[in-house]
């Protein structure tokens, strides 16, 4: 879709586009995350649908100008509904040779490349192994290159402010941002307001950033190197009030909401770990909601304290990433045994071991299901989008308190840091969370169960007449006394497992997007939702008999899961691991599910899933129509 109009300046036309994907790339000290976030806020507030993919190194400041130090932020903004931050950028903004080298491979032929040519010094080129300057040796001829002396122009604009060279250099990202605002006809207002607020106590820094932003914008306006500007109209989103939200923000808000709905103070025990720490930072600010945050001495203390708080009647929560989950395993087993409500968030990252801390992966599914001693079942949920992180936080607390069970909530680095517009729910639309504490003395037994949910009573210390002892040793059915009786252990093991069946009866069925039966079902979970949905929609547009189902409940799975899986000739399970859900559905439903596995620390591209689905359809002897874009 494109409409051309003439603007006042004769030579520059405005072209209307449905969707644009921009990638900002620079040194990790260049402020690329901030630049991307500012563009995202502006586009979101304008009414575009957006999706973002921040991609940064674990090193806070890797050596300047080096390849490991490159930080990127990709965002896609659109006038229609989008599910992913885009497979590849339309525009790459490269602040130095390292950023160019690290990202050029993903810029399609004919894509626009805006570079800070001042950074292409012989020293910087040598750091990343460029023998000749790619800006002048003709090697970039297949792209649309715009050489802009960003550093020079920016320092000229900031002259006379009395800032140091270093301070001036730190504002050049806002010059690039200003230029992009001009190119996409965006209002500088939200960013100017942000500068005002952020640097209110340092007026000279505020002025430097304002000047940098305006200088970039005005450069676009006055220079003649750009012949077109682009406008992406607002998207037709569902009616409502929206805000831009990342997965971690939505997770934190969701647990605060859940604690309010349940009427229980939230206790959050946590040890700093990438990419989960932002949840701690955010929750620590919500003291007036009664939120108690506890930065523990280690991962074990974090979960232990959360169990202690739940025992006392609070909403006990802990969060970490894969390595931390490994450390929490024994305490999670204790929560299974003592049957107390507890929520454990795992913001997954690439493993094993320390792995790639800032990169995404879905490698912990089997760990959280089976990574404990003994038969130790617990509930596992996984939101699929940043916005869903809110909804499933509420759901996790609802299930944990209703069934008296630990619940694991699987997020990942892509969900945690990625952003999308989130329709803010009305308070009256949030589900009630009804929690009960036993106070009745007569007939009290610590392990007598609710016949519906199999939950044992939540009897809080401080309740007269209900003094009792719990612990990690096996409990006698009903009385809760320590028991080594063989039949009792068998019965208790089955009862703990049977709770899962009761949860399964309490959750919605697995929904299918597409035909209820057909050639191919693509089954996913977690953050791969957007890429799978987009790939399936492309195939559906070409007439293929393909459906998408996405599991939010990994344990127990919805009651109709087997039936759904058996309604298609073939089931494809794409995962950012080596086939963990695939193993589960094969084992549980005897379905010959086929896996598609990539562990690159990055989300799936739509195109690769579309291609794989096509391959599967071809094997079935079904034509899938022509490739669509």
């Amino acid at each position: 879709m494109s409409t051309e109009t003439k603007t006042a300046r004769g030579a520059v036309k405005t072209r209307e586009l449905d969707r644009v994907t921009i990638r900002f790339a620079g040194d990790s000290g260049d402020g690329m995350q901030l630049t991307g976030t500012q563009f995202t806020r502006t586009a979101a507030a304008f009414g575009n649908d957006i999706s973002t993919f921040p991609d940064f190194p674990a090193e806070i400041r890797a050596p300047a100008g080096s390849l490991p130090g490159v930080s990127g932020f990709q965002l896609s903004f659109s006038s229609s509904d989008i599910h992913t931050p885009g497979d590849e950028p339309d525009v790459l903004v490269a602040m130095n040779p390292a950023a160019l080298k690290a990202n050029l491979g993903e810029l399609p032929q004919g894509g626009a490349l805006i570079v800070n040519e001042d950074a292409f010094t012989s020293q910087n080129l040598a750091k990343v192994g460029y023998i000749a300057n790619p800006l002048t040796d003709g090697s970039l001829s297949q792209w649309h290159v715009f050489n802009v002396p960003i550093s020079t122009l920016n320092s000229r604009a900031l002259k006379g402010l009395g800032l140091t060279n270093k301070q001036v250099d730190l504002t050049k990202n806002f010059f690039a941002l200003g230029l992009m605002f001009w190119l996409y006809e965006r209002d500088m207002g939200p960013t100017l307001a942000w500068i005002e607020d952020k640097f209110s106590k340092r007026p000279e820094i505020a002025e430097g950033n304002r000047r940098a932003l305006r200088a970039g914008y005005n450069f676009g306006e006055t220079t003649e190197i750009f012949h077109e500007r682009y406008i992406v109209p607002p998207a037709q989103l569902e009616r409502g009030t929206y805000r831009n939200i990342t997965g971690n923000e939505a997770t934190a808000l969701g647990f605060v909401a859940a604690s309010q709905l349940a009427g229980r103070d939230l206790f959050y025990g946590s040890y700093p770990i990438t990419p989960a720490s932002d949840i701690l930072h955010q929750l620590a600010g919500y003291k007036n909601f009664g939120v108690k945050t506890f930065q523990a001495e280690d991962e074990i203390a974090a979960v232990g304290a959360a169990i202690g708080a739940s025992y006392g009647g609070a909403s006990g929560l802990t969060a970490s990433s894969g390595p931390g989950l490994a450390l929490k395993a024994e305490a999670m087993g204790l929560a299974v045994m003592v049957e107390l409500p507890l929520v454990v968030v795992d913001v997954q990252r690439a493993g094993p071991s320390t792995g790639m801390p800032t990169k995404t992966e879905q490698g912990d599914l089997l760990q959280v299901l089976f990574g404990r001693n003994g038969e130790s079942p617990l509930v596992v949920l996984a939101p699929a989008t940043p916005g869903e992180c809110f909804e499933y936080a509420v759901e996790a607390v609802r299930i944990a308190t209703k069934f008296m069970t630990p619940v694991v909530y699987l997020s990942d680095a892509f969900l945690a840091n990625g952003a999308e517009p989130w329709r803010i729910p009305a308070l009256e639309d949030l589900p009630p969370i009804v929690t009960v504490n036993r106070t009745e003395k007569d007939g009290f037994f610590p392990y007598a169960r609710d016949p519906q949910t199999l939950a044992r009573p939540w009897a809080l210390p401080g309740t007269p007449g209900l003094e009792h002892r719990i612990g990690g040793l096996e409990k006698a059915d009903i009385s809760g006394n320590v028991s080594y009786d063989p039949e009792n252990h068998h019965r208790m093991t089955e009862l703990r497992q049977a709770k899962g069946d009761r949860v399964a009866a309490d959750i919605p069925p697995l929904e299918v997007h597409g035909p209820a039966q057909g050639d191919l079902l693509v089954l996913g979970w977690g953050s791969t939702y957007g890429a799978i949905r987009s790939a399936v929609e492309r195939l559906q547009a070409g007439g293929a008999s393909v459906a998408h189902a996405h599991l939010r409940y990994l344990n127990p799975m919805p009651a109709n899961t087997g039936e759904v899986l058996r309604s298609y000739r073939r089931v494809l399970v794409p995962e950012l691991n080596l086939g963990q859900l695939q193993l589960l559905v094969r084992g549980r439903y005897l379905v010959d599910a086929i896996g598609y596995h990539r562990v690159r620390g990055k989300p799936f591209r739509i195109a690769e899933l579309e291609q794989e689905a096509r391959r599967q359809l071809a094997e079935l002897g079904v034509a899938a129509g022509s490739a669509s874009r």
Partner: protein, 348 residues
């Protein structure tokens, strides 16, 4: 105090409650080995409980793993037998959520100083309002006799047939380094002294650490016999009293004085020495506390009693104060406003 009144400070019941030792005895059969020192510790704990004025339901005993870990089952209060070394973490979370409760942690030398060393350190330095009672028998009993972090160097055990090559740790020195606000030592067989020490710990606000020297008659019999046996105890231990000179001995004729910065044992009457020359115990003096954590039999009598007792705001108190202040300055959180904060836009 009702079950829903969760945010009041930890205080005894408003109305005095008349309870006796028997009220704290649970219906569970006690299953330690006959002759174990743990029986005495349990009995003295049950005896002092009525002194604190808390109703039974507001008292919680949390333990880790080891022989000591069984104690909560035998107390007719709330109890939580947790996992190895982690009892202080549960206590920290419980106390944060429920400042109204009186919380005790029961642990052993392996549980507290080996697998749970990190949690002991941090719960003490945070001044969590919890009383930690550590049974020290210098052996792993429940796993049938391996060396523990307090076993003496060269000790021959099942896991060290040629003797250990590990230096032991001093529990009280660890507690002091962690800035515990209350540090004491007692002995399983010194029943009156043990009661008095637990009573002091129970009345303390903040982290109280009590080391109880305890005998394991199966795997480390006579662990502390050299200075705790009836015939020798008065000459080989020193009972500390705040504000009193450090005197000990059957004949009350021995004492500790400082020679320069070094403590030494002296005999009263010799070379004209009088009580006035002796060191006076001060529970608030960190240097005296340090010295007392360093002296031990056979060079010195073993100090028993309260080594340190100082007052500081507790973790749960400061945590809840922050919340009260946030509510006072910003108002009780409004969920609708929170969800709609930041930049929002409306699609009609």
């Amino acid at each position: 105090m009702t079950a829903t009144d969760h945010n009041g400070a930890s205080t005894p019941a408003a109305e005095p409650i008349q309870l006796t030792r028997k009220d704290f005895v649970s219906d569970q059969e006690v299953r330690w080995c006959p002759g174990c020192g743990d029986y005495s510790i349990l009995a003295q704990t049950q005896r002092v409980m009525p002194d604190f004025g808390y109703p039974r339901e507001n008292i919680v005993f949390i333990s880790g793993i080891g022989c000591s870990g069984r104690l909560p089952y035998y107390m007719n209060t709330y109890g939580f037998h947790s996992i190895h070394g982690r009892a202080p973490t549960l206590a920290t979370g419980l106390k944060a959520a429920r400042p109204d409760l009186m919380v005790w942690v029961i642990t052993g030398d392996g549980d507290a100083l080996s697998i749970g060393g990190n949690h002991l350190l941090h719960s003490l330095r945070r001044n969590v309002d919890v009383r930690i009672v550590m049974f020290n028998n210098r052996i792993y009993g429940l796993t049938k006799g391996q060396a523990s972090p307090t076993s003496e160097m060269g000790k021959v055990t099942k896991s060290s047939p040629f003797g250990t090559v590990d230096y032991p740790v001093s529990p009280l020195a660890v507690a002091l380094a962690a800035e515990a606000t209350f540090i004491a030592r007692s002995v399983d067989t010194f029943t009156d002294h043990l009661q008095g020490t637990l009573d002091r710990a129970g009345h303390h606000r903040g982290s109280a650490f009590v080391e109880v020297l305890q005998n394991c008659n199966i795997f480390n019999d006579g662990a502390h016999r050299e200075f705790t046996d009836r015939e020798v105890r008065e000459d080989r231990t020193i009972t500390l009293e705040h504000g009193a000179p450090m005197i000990f001995g059957k004949d009350r004729d021995k004492g500790i004085r400082l020679n320069g910065h070094q403590p030494e044992v002296v005999t009263l009457g010799e070379n004209g020495l009088t009580e006035a020359d002796l060191l006076v115990h001060d529970e608030t003096d960190p240097l005296i506390a340090f010295m007392l954590t360093r002296i031990y039999w056979p060079e010195f009598p073993v100090p028993v009693g309260v080594i340190r007792s100082v007052s500081r705001p507790t973790h749960d108190q400061m945590l809840n104060d922050q919340i009260a202040q946030a509510v006072a300055s910003r108002g009780r959180g409004d969920l609708g406003r929170l969800l709609n904060s930041g930049e929002t836009w409306t699609v009609e």
